[in-house]
Symmetry: C2
Subunit: 341 residues, 2 copies
DNA sequence: AATGACGTTGACAACGTTGTCATCGGACAC
DNA sequence: GTGTCCGATGACAACGTTGTCAACGTCATT
């Protein structure tokens, strides 16, 4: 029915209903002061023309930024951690009628800056950022112009902004200590790019655990710069080929733990080499043996992040907060394999 | 440095640079016809005032809808299928500078309608929809007004729109047949709400496989209305308690397969009850035994969807296409467990 | 010296909407 | 009958931007 038509505007509705544009505006916005018969006539016209409110034009006229949009720049929306976080944010924002623009950064600082610029251009009301950059000072002019920013997963550097992070160092220390306590002395560490905030801290925690026991870890067992499950799998395969292979593995990210599990399984070593991963993920409990992990409570992190942002959106101007969530050790089996006698 | 300031507009920049607004516009948009010294002066003013282009105002003036935004209404962005799809879309759109507004529907038709309305109000240039509704006729007025819509995972009903789907019936038939061929005769089926397009078709395929072998499946082994892993786990637990429990399980969704795997593991039956799942997921290969699945190629689906939408965005007005992707059986072990002798 | 061409620049209107204010007609009180 | 008040309605400007077009100065040409 009917060809392709241009969207009707209030002008068209007004013409059809035989009233002024302003009256249409009143009806559309449910404002009082319109006689009932007129209101009905306008609504009929709205229906017949399939008129839809133009939010951008409305916001523009209403002044204020209020775009009813926030940005969420995450590492990779297809990764379970980012995806769960996005979902938490969405649920928190739904009630406010605030929509979410999401994008993946893949640890690329340039992309982060470009996307932030794009979001500012779109006048988002707020920003949730899992930064890829070392410093976020480029954000300060935006924040001064009133853009609320909450950093997740990594603490701010170069700016004063809210953040929700996990005790990475402590978590990694816990994981490594768990393995050391069982007698492991040759523990491999699988770490992401050392420039990354979380990677750095987790590596630190790993070293701390050794240090406080007066143990010097074999550097050849620490592999950094690992991006993704594939890289983790290959690294572990190489480590297992060493003259004195590790008896345990600490994986600094969930995908690296998955890669490690795959490598171990392929070599038939799942039951003989211990494995602890940082960051829980769906199905970790269904691996063989079930995977022992340091869990960061994603739902909690998401809710805390959303709470901080919502408060700022609602005008909270108190000093920035750094919320730190304690990770927990979830013992499931893979991390309790003893070293060979 | 500096208090909270209102965003500068072109007017402010023009005043500071001592030129007209139009000249600022020219510089900001990299248009020719501005003398070099003037251009420099304007750029300095832009920098000093931290001026940022206002995309909404620009688009408004430029006429046309072109918001540089598309909507992606998926079932649940934290589910690996939706998340992977979102990521594919994002990658396809990045080059165009098109941003993505995503939201989760959770199979709620009302939310779908409300969110579509919201997206229209925001004048998205296009829409990717994994529908929750039985019929999408409510979309026809939007489409007539020029909104390109591509349905994913479920075929359109009540409208003529592009779609990218999987041969659900055929896939499920394949999965059930795989189990039947090994001699299983008591096969349980775990199915989502029967109102859901994919659930209906998969159940159909399951029945088809039996029918073409002249076998009448035990209705008590078919459980529908299962939402989420938990529900799947409980259903399987109940099934295992029957006098004559199933010797194999066909799970109609990846989360139901996960729930089933969990229930089997808990009962120590992972190696004795066969399991085939519909829709692959990360780590399915690491379960014990590795999970046999009907795989739908998410990346491919995402790319096809993006291609269709991009074509429409670029003005393609050819008749709607229904692209159907063939699922494949991935044999890994769990589906090859024979029935007890 | 007058003419035309060209490169720069700005005034103005308009995109679709809404806040402000004026206008209009009728109801009511005196 | 006059004055007042109130509810309903609309004219107009403005949000921040850009397309159109006119105006300006400079320079080369005749």
């Amino acid at each position: 029915m009917g060809d392709r038509v241009e969207r009707a505007t209030m002008r068209d509705v007004a013409a059809l209903a035989g009233v002024s544009i302003k009256t249409v505006s009143r009806v559309v916005n449910d404002e009082p002061g319109v006689a009932e018969p007129v209101r009905v006539r306008v609504q009929e016209a709205v229906g017949r023309l399939a008129y839809r409110h133009h939010l951008a034009a409305s916001n523009l006229r209403r002044g204020a930024s209020r775009s009813g949009l926030i940005g969420a720049l995450l590492q990779d929306v297809s990764n379970s951690f980012s995806a769960a976080l996005l979902r938490s944010l969405e649920d928190a924002m739904r009630a406010r009628g605030t929509a979410i623009l999401s994008a993946s950064l893949d640890e690329e600082p340039d992309r982060e800056r470009a996307l932030v610029h794009d979001l500012v251009t779109r006048r988002v009301d707020g920003l949730v950022l899992m930064p890829s950059t070392d410093r976020q000072d480029y954000l300060s002019s935006e924040m001064r112009a009133g853009l609320p920013v909450v950093l997740v997963d990594r603490e701010p550097s170069g700016i004063a902004a809210d953040s929700v992070t996990v005790e990475n160092t402590e978590g990694a220390r816990m994981g490594a200590e768990h393995l050391l306590a069982q007698g492991h002395r040759r523990i491999a560490a699988l770490i992401d790019l050392p420039g990354i905030y979380t990677a750095r801290h987790r590596l630190e925690g790993f070293a701390d655990a050794h240090r406080s026991r007066g143990i010097h870890p074999d550097e050849r067992l620490t592999v950094t710069g690992l991006r993704g499950a594939e890289a983790g799998e290959q690294a572990v395969t190489r480590l297992l080929d060493l003259d004195r292979p590790p008896t345990a593995i600490f994986a600094g990210r969930n995908d690296l733990a998955q890669g490690a599990a795959r490598a171990l399984r392929r070599r038939g070593l799942s039951e003989s080499v211990a494995l602890v991963g940082f960051d829980d993920f769906p199905l970790a409990d269904l691996l063989t043996p079930p995977l022992t992990v340091i869990r960061q409570d994603v739902v909690r992190i998401g809710r805390l992040t959303a709470d901080l942002l919502v408060a700022r959106l609602d005008g909270d101007v108190s000093p920035p907060q750094r919320v730190v969530v304690e990770p927990t050790l979830v013992v499931r089996g893979s991390g309790e394999i003893p070293p060979p006698a």
